[in-house]
């Protein structure tokens, strides 16, 4: 028998579960200025990065699940799916309002001890919206924050364009002082924020970073808001769509 046909001794390693939730605003205004197209592109782009990043954490199984909220809220994937085999199905904007409160309520059902199981790490929740909540947002948020796992979760918000209600989004964030809502003014910024929130925060949930002052750094440094000036290329990049 050749050496290379030897079985690997031992089994796979026991894994903890990491869930990444994307809560996506599908209100009518998301159809304007290519915002929804940008969201679709960004999530599609982040999937291979998440797959590659997951390889660095062999003791963690990453799942992703997306939710749409407009007139009410519903899961885009009926259950959380493994990142290795996840394929993004595009989301369209709808003739809808912005029922963010309904989104909070729907998410609350997923953050129960029963749903997250006995072996988990803090879930990462990314809220994307371009407008004002149109329903009882505070009530929904309260229900969400009552869940024990909510206190452990890493929650960030991305405001798409200037019309989003930053104050309302701030209420959602788990660390509103250090990581207040990002305001994405164009597609490139949106892609950058979605990538950072998905990849960097899931890595933080997997292995928390720590800084040299001994203080536990809860999250890595967010990406610079001002795009870095590229070297070797004119800085007046006309490629950016401005909304």
């Amino acid at each position: 028998m050749a050496i290379d046909s030897v079985p690997i001794i031992g089994g796979g390693v026991s894994k903890r579960e990491l869930k990444i939730f994307w809560l996506i605003d599908v209100s009518g205004s998301m159809a304007i200025d290519g915002k929804m197209t940008a969201v679709n592109r960004a999530i599609k782009a982040v999937i291979p990065e998440l797959q590659s990043s997951a390889e660095d954490f062999p003791d963690i199984q990453t799942y992703v699940q997306a939710m749409k909220f407009g007139n009410g809220a519903e899961w885009h994937n009926s259950s959380a799916e493994k990142i290795e085999s996840y394929v993004w199905r595009e989301i369209d904007a709808e003739q809808a309002v912005t029922d963010m409160g309904a989104a909070m309520q729907l998410l609350a059902h997923e953050l129960t001890e029963e749903k997250l199981g006995k072996k988990a790490i803090p879930p990462v929740i990314i809220l994307l919206s371009d407008g004002q909540p149109t329903d009882n947002y505070e009530g929904g948020l309260e229900e969400l924050l009552k869940q024990r796992w909510s206190k452990k979760s890493i929650r960030v918000a991305i405001a798409i364009g200037k019309d989003a209600d930053e104050e309302k989004l701030k209420m959602f964030c788990s660390n509103p002082v250090e990581i207040p809502p990002f305001v994405a003014g164009n597609e490139t910024q949106l892609v950058k924020f979605i990538k950072w929130a998905s990849v960097a925060l899931s890595r933080t949930a997997s292995t928390p970073a720590i800084d040299a002052t001994g203080g536990v750094a809860a999250v890595p440094t967010p990406p610079p808001i001002k795009a870095e000036v590229k070297i070797g290329e004119a800085s007046d990049d006309t490629d950016d769509d401005v909304w």
Binding site: V13, K152, V216
Partner: protein, 452 residues
């Protein structure tokens, strides 16, 4: 170029000025990290990697530290060490060697995507111990030893250590990092600064995970904790860490069905290896200076492991010759469930019992066994010093069934037969390995008996 590649700081094809009027030409964006981005570049005729820092990391202390590291030079070839600082318009990065494709993420070991056997894992751990020994000698500390910075060639066990820009003088901290949870020493988890002593703890964790594929502190407590968040990790890696095989406290033992890798493998490795890890993960928790093994100790341990490996006569998987196991279980058997020798008594392999003063080492003799300088002298701490081959196995040209040992050293060996005759083995000559030989004298203060 797709707009989704927006994160790239430098355009492909751009030529940055380098030392001596050379150009550092950007070929391709490789990837981004927390501090900056990495590109494949061409510097002169060499293909290298360039790390270019984000604005936040563009600090003069870091640049000075990099230049210092370049002056000191790489501890050995296992480090993708900074070679040259590249500066442009007030910003900087540095070039280093490019990782060859056969070197893979060490984490892949854990989910079985790559696999090391006893021979290759011993080689990898030896390389790790020797590399960090050489890094620590001039007073440097790595500060963030973890498997994310280690790449392994699974077919040889050769290693590459990357992310060396955070290396600093023992006791200093330029990059502002403390480490990675799950690898950090408890005093660093609790707020202390990383240094060479905390490196020794992290190194032990890394080697443990390579050998046993599970974590030295993730036992029952890990299983009983629903939310493994920062607070839990701080508690179980910092405030009250308890080794899963702590000899006097079994409350954190590994749990069957959850941590099966370590349950199986802990039994497969010899007692001296278990003892070393037990020391570091019990005494070493509170005694950073004396409770953690020095790299020299790890070198001894993994050399000993290498010397005791032989192929299963049926299926050729590497097996460890372990005297303690023979005493306790009465046999050595093959661990491969597919093999006819599985759990059967295997013939004991021939070996040399080498005596140097009061020390003894058992070297199993395989057809490809070589003896190295370090095995025949009192102390040769580094792999390089201990490296020269001084003997190899040789077939008798008149009868290839008969094996002997060829003298590749410069000394004239002698051997004594059972009847008391003394014979010379001059350099390049081979001597028989038979029961008729009482003792070999290597003329280095080492003698040996043959055990067949």
């Amino acid at each position: 170029m797709s707009k989704l590649k927006e994160g790239e700081l430098i355009k492909n094809g751009f030529a940055l000025p380098a030392a001596g009027g050379m150009k550092c030409v950007i070929e391709e964006f490789i990837g981004g990290g927390g501090q900056g981005e990495v590109y494949r570049v061409k510097l002169g005729s060499e293909t290298l990697a360039l790390k270019w820092y984000f604005e936040d990391s563009q600090k003069s202390e870091l640049k000075a530290s990099l230049k210092n590291l370049i002056n000191i030079g790489a501890p050995n070839d296992n480090f993708l060490w900074p070679k040259e600082v590249i500066e442009y318009e007030g910003k900087f990065g540095y070039v280093m060697g490019l990782r060859p494709a056969e070197y893979q993420k060490s984490q892949l070991l854990v989910n079985g995507k790559i696999n090391l056997n006893f021979r290759t894992v011993a080689h990898a751990c030896l390389q790790l111990a020797d590399s960090f020994r050489l890094l620590h000698i001039p007073g440097l500390a790595y500060q963030d030893i973890n498997w994310g910075n280690l790449f392994i060639n699974p077919s040889t066990g050769d290693i590459l250590i990357c992310d060396n820009d955070n290396v600093t003088e023992h006791g200093k901290n330029v990059a502002g990092i403390a480490g990675t949870y799950g690898f950090m020493a408890p005093e660093v988890v609790m707020g202390g600064l990383p240094n060479a002593h905390t490196d020794m703890f992290s190194l032990a964790v890394l080697m443990f995970r390579m050998l046993f594929l599970d974590h030295p502190f993730d036992g029952k407590r890990w299983v009983d904790t629903a939310c493994w968040d920062q607070a839990a990790q701080k508690k179980y890696y910092g405030q009250m860490p308890l080794f899963i095989y702590n000899p006097s406290d079994s409350s954190n033992n590994p749990v069957a069905g959850e941590q099966d890798n370590v349950i199986l493998r802990w039994k497969m490795y010899p007692q001296y290896i278990r003892d070393c890890f037990t020391k570091v993960f019990t005494e070493g928790l509170t005694d950073p200076e004396n409770g953690r093994l020095m790299e020299e100790n790890w070198l001894d341990v993994f050399r000993r492991l290498q010397e005791s490996i032989f192929p299963c006569p049926y299926c050729e998987v590497p097996i460890i010759y372990d005297v303690d196991k023979i005493k306790n279980e009465g046999k050595i058997s093959c661990w491969n469930p597919k093999c006819q020798g599985y759990e059967q008594k295997l013939p004991t392999p021939p070996r040399l019992r080498i005596k140097i003063g009061k020390r003894e080492r058992i070297v199993v003799l395989n057809v490809d066994t070589k003896l190295y300088h370090y095995q025949l002298v009192k102390s040769a701490p580094s792999l390089k010093e201990g490296g020269p081959v001084v003997a190899e196995m040789a077939q008798n040209p008149k009868d290839p069934e008969k094996w002997g040992l060829r003298n590749l050293s410069n000394n004239n060996w002698t051997f004594t037969t059972n009847s008391g005759d003394i014979k010379d083995v001059n350099p390049d000559k081979a001597m028989p390995l038979t029961k008729n030989i009482k003792e070999i004298d290597f003329k280095t203060s080492a003698t040996a008996e043959i055990r067949i």
